[in-house]
Each structure stands twice: as structure tokens, then as C-alpha cells.
Amino acid sequence: MIWMSWRQFRGQAIVGGAVVAVLAAYLIYLGLDIRGSYQTYLAQCPDAGDCSGPMGQFSLDYENTLLPLAGVLGLVPGVLGMFWGAPLITRELENGTQRLVWNQSVTRRRWLLIKLLVVGLACMVVAGTASMLLTWAAAPVDDVANNRFSTVLFGARFLPPIAYAAFAFVLGTVIGLLVRRMVPTMALTLVVFVIFQFLVPNLVRPHLLPPEHLSKQMTVSAINEARSLGSITGAPVLNGLTIPEGWITDVGALTQADGKPLSAKTFDDCYMNAPKTGATEGPYGDIAVCLAKHDLHVDIAYQPWNRYWAFQLLESGCYLLLTGLLVLFALRRIQRRPA
């Protein structure tokens, strides 16, 4: 059955191998280029002290390359699910060849299991190769940028891509088992996978472990670190804060020293009519000075940086668990309701 799985998969494997080879060559080139560039910027650092200037520039140089690459890597599992997972059963059904192969002396359950193992492992190798090469290539930039928990990058480093690939592949196979036609199965596989890739980072990932909390005083400089002030509904909030302790998963309301939340009116007053003090610091200038006068604090829920590997393992584990459940479902279904 392993021979059979390989013989049927050979053509697809060759195409996949060629694509991976091209991608790998590019990533190796990129990794070497990044390392060369890193040395150049390092040489521009002052002999003693702060090197954040050149390093920030170094990080900026590659951001526009590495972010789309992370996006591409995010799509790889979806593509594998479409082109390797979706046809696994549907192509047999559309050609009628299941009537040939299911009448050999191999039960349908075993037939499916071996095919899932052979092609599934290939999917994981492809995604793993791409992920490890990208992780290696981007390592110097990641060290400087320190944004490993960012939505896109987290899913494009180390282990998660491997788990995504296993999941997407089995997802394609299972949808094929239910839909039974190849093209709708391919489309549906991609759609469902993309939905997962949107929902999990935003709704599931922040809650994989109970967050730590800290209260941060919103001084003038702290306010000026925010990406924007206020929300679309006019609520008094600060957006896009960062803290050195870890990845912020939730920011509470702005509260005054007495614990009462800052009223929207006070916030708006500062925002619209801040007294002129001649402050020029940061993007918000007088507004920041006005707000800071109210002695504001925010409660921040965050995941410490040292949980990175726990999160890598947890998210990968969740996807693999889901994959396992899908495999069990498929094995039950194919034996009971083959056609």
C-alpha cells in the first residue's frame, strides 16, 4: 500500500519538490544577504553604546520582504490542502478507480490511513522545510525587531506551519470525502483553511494560556508610544501599545488615580482643545501632556516573551489534535458510508 500511495503521488511529489527547491534556493540567498547586510550595519554602530539606529534601519530594510514571505508561507498549507489533500479521494471517485482499488485485499480504512500518512508526511516535510529556511533566513531581523508574537510572523516560524500543513491536507481529504467532487472540494478546502487562519490567531491564540497582568502608568512618553488615540466609537482608549515584558493581548480602559475610568468628555477635551504648552515630543504633543496630567493607568493583559515556545507547542498541538480528530472521522466514515 505504501508503494501504491507513492506511485500515485509521484507526479505531484515531483512538482512539489521542484517548487520547494526554488523557494529554498531563494530563502538561502535571502538568508545570506540578510547576514551580509547585518554585518554592514553592525560596523556602523558606535564603538560603545546604543546601536538602535543602524539596527532599526536594518530591520526596516527587510520588513517589506519578510512580511510577504510570511504571508506566502501562511498560504503553503492551504495550497497543499487544495492540490494534495482535496484530490486524494475525489480523483478516485471522479475516475471511478475506487471501484478497482477498494476491491483489492486492503480494507478502505487501511487504504486511507496509509495514503494519509504518506502524503501527509510529505506535506509536513514541505511546510517544515519552508518554515525552517525562512526562520533561519529571518533570524537576524527577528532578533532586532523582537516581534515574534505578531499575528503573521508567529505562524510563519518554526513549528506551526508544519501543523497547519497536516491540518489543511487532512481537511482537504475529509471535505473531499463529503463533497465527492474535486473542484468544489479544492475551493472549499482553501476557504475553510483561510477562515481558520484568521480566527485562530485573533480568537484562540491570545487565550492559549491565562495572561499576566500589569498596570502601566500613562506618562507623556508612554502615551506617545501609542499607535493611535481613541476608537471608532469614540471610546477613550489607546491603541497599539507595546511593553518590554511581552505580547499584549488586551488593554483595559484608561483609569484615573482613583480607579474611575476616564470619561469620554475629558478625553475629547484633551483631544480637541489641549492647552498649548509648546510640547513637541512624540506624535501627540500637547494632547499627550493634557492626558498625562490626569494620572492615567491602563490594565494590560500580556503573554511574557518567555512563553514563546509554550505557545509554539500549544498552537501546533491544537492543530495536530484537530487533524487527528479529522483522521478518525474520515476512517469511520469511509468504512461505513463509502459511496
Partner: protein, 304 residues
């Protein structure tokens, strides 16, 4: 091969298969003894493919129980090894060569007989390197037959094996099929719209029409228990006990009928033996009702 005759090759009790609202096979009750070559005849859509796919486990019954060689079809690998199935239009992997197919057979079947397979491939003149997608219909059927037979099953099933073949290829295919069954000492079930094919090679007949089994039995028994009666018109409206009228045709004064019975009848009635074709036709006509009278064309094909 086993000589265990303790269970029939196929035993069906109240087997019904529905696809959504459509009933493909209804209340099928059959017990087929071993050592037969069984012909399954009926028009298109009669349920022949459904019955065979049920028997090899490709589909499961909606109701009823079905046992093939004493077990649920496709229950386990050992049972799968005992049943060979050649599906309608003989599917093969288009991008596999003939040699790949034999390799597949050898890898997936512990009972595989490589010698038999190679002998067969040589006999029908197939090239090992040829892609199966480029084979003619007849060659493909031969390849599919070889694959099914070389696993040395106790029961071989063929769904319309000769339907796509021209008369010459069909002749060769059926001859091979009989050789196989004899060589393997197996039982075989062969479905066909062509009574001619079935009549040539089968010694047990199942007539399937309108999703129901109309009649089933050993061919000599069927011929012994069915005959034509010519009786004065009206007298057959009340046939004697033990006689069942299958189909009656009337002229002004006489009624000609195909009946089932032991041969006893009033002296005024004329009795004639019946051919298998007439018998099958009578059952099908009855099953189809007046509206859709099936016709037997000159080639023996049963159509509508």
C-alpha cells in the same frame, strides 16, 4: 480452493438500497449456492449494478442483511481477498502502465498469483510498458479481468463486462472468463443486458427488473418448471392449483401463456417447452407492466 459448502456464496434477506428518494433495489431475497456461474439479467436501471456493488461492499444496504461467502461484504482484508470484482466500464488507473497494475495487484493482494497474471497478459498480448489510459476498451477489460482473477478469488463478479466491447472482443472476453472460472474453481456472477451472453456461460439465472428480483434459479430447473400453455380463451383466468401465470397473450379464441408449474393441466390445453429468452421476457413484461413493455431485439438485447 476451499471446498467448504457450508455457506452460500450470496445470501440476501430483505435487502433494500435507496439513493435519496430513489429505490435502486427493493426487498431482495436470494440464496445462491456455490459452484455456479450466475447470470444477472435485466434492463438498464433494473438494479443490477446496485446488487453487485452491495455484494462487493462498495455500497451498504439501506435495509436488510447481506452475506457474501458467509460474511458482510468487504468486512476485512481476508474477505476482500476472496472476492474479485470487475466494475462496469472496467476502471483502471490511466497513468499506470500495465506493469504498474500487475505490481499493484501483487502488492495489495496476499493471494496474488503472478504466474497466472503474466500468462494472461501474454495470452491477450498486452504490452507491460503501455499506459492503461491508452488501451482499447477490450484490452482494458482484459487487464481488469486479469487483476480480479489473479488474486485467486472464490467469487468473481463482473458488472456488464462485455457492454463496451465489439462482438469479436466480447466473444473472446467471455471465453476467457469461462476459462478463468474453471481454472480458479470459483463461482462467478455476471450481469448483463444481453441475455445471449448470459445464456452462453451461465448455469444459474437471476432476472432483475424494476428494482426487484423477478425469478432466480438454476437454468435447468427454470426450464423444467416453466412452459408455454395454449388454452381456450378465458380458461386460464382461473389456473389450476400449483400453476402460476407469468404472462398471457390473447387472440379471439385462444390464450397463450407462460406459466410456472409442475406440468399438470387439463387435457384440452396444449403444452410446449419454453426457451430461456421467452421465460426472461415473460417475467420482465410482467414486471414492467403494460406501459413499458420490454422488447428483445434481434441481438437478444433487452431494452425498453
Amino acid at each position: 480452493m476451499t471446498s467448504d459448502d457450508s455457506y452460500p456464496i450470496l445470501h440476501a434477506e430483505g435487502v433494500t438500497k435507496r439513493y435519496g428518494a430513489r429505490t435502486a433495489l427493493e426487498d431482495c431475497n436470494l440464496t445462491i449456492p456455490r459452484g455456479r456461474v450466475i447470470g444477472l439479467v435485466g434492463p438498464n436501471g433494473a438494479g443490477k449494478s446496485t446488487l453487485l456493488q452491495l455484494a462487493c461492499g462498495l455500497v451498504t444496504p439501506s435495509e436488510g442483511t447481506l452475506r457474501v461467502l458467509g460474511e458482510t461484504p468487504a468486512a476485512n482484508a481476508a474477505h476482500l481477498a476472496k472476492v474479485g470484482f470487475v466494475a462496469q466500464d472496467t476502471p483502471v488507473y490511466a497513468n499506470f502502465s500495465v506493469g504498474d497494475h500487475l505490481k499493484m495487484g501483487a502488492r495489495l493482494n496476499p493471494t496474488w498469483d503472478q504466474g497466472l497474471a503474466e500468462r494472461r497478459i501474454a495470452q491477450v498480448g498486452l504490452n507491460y510498458k503501455q499506459k492503461a489510459g491508452r488501451l482499447s476498451g477490450g484490452q482494458r477489460a482484459q487487464l481488469a479481468l486479469t487483476l480480479a482473477a489473479a488474486k485467486r478469488p472464490e467469487l468473481l463478479m463482473f458488472d456488464e463486462p462485455a457492454a463496451a466491447l465489439d462482438p469479436l472482443a466480447r466473444d473472446g472476453f467471455l471465453r476467457n472468463l469461462v476459462e478463468f472460472v474453471t481454472e480458479l474453481n470459483a463461482s462467478a456472477i455476471l450481469s448483463s443486458r444481453l441475455l445471449g451472453d448470459v445464456e452462453r456461460v451461465c448455469n444459474y439465472l437471476i432476472v432483475l427488473c424494476a428494482s426487484r428480483v423477478q425469478v432466480a434459479g438454476d437454468v435447468p430447473d427454470l426450464l423444467n418448471t416453466h412452459y408455454r400453455i395454449v388454452a381456450p380463451r378465458g380458461e386460464l383466468d382461473h389456473p389450476p392449483a400449483g400453476m402460476e401465470v407469468i404472462r398471457a397473450q390473447h387472440t379471439d379464441r385462444w390464450t397463450t401463456a407462460v406459466v410456472r408449474g409442475d406440468g399438470s393441466r387439463p387435457a384440452t390445453w396444449t403444452i410446449k417447452p419454453i426457451h430461456l429468452e421467452g421465460l426472461v421476457l415473460a417475467y420482465m413484461t410482467r414486471a414492467m407492466g403494460v406501459a413499458g413493455q420490454p422488447l428483445m431485439t434481434s441481438s437478444g438485447e433487452v431494452g425498453r
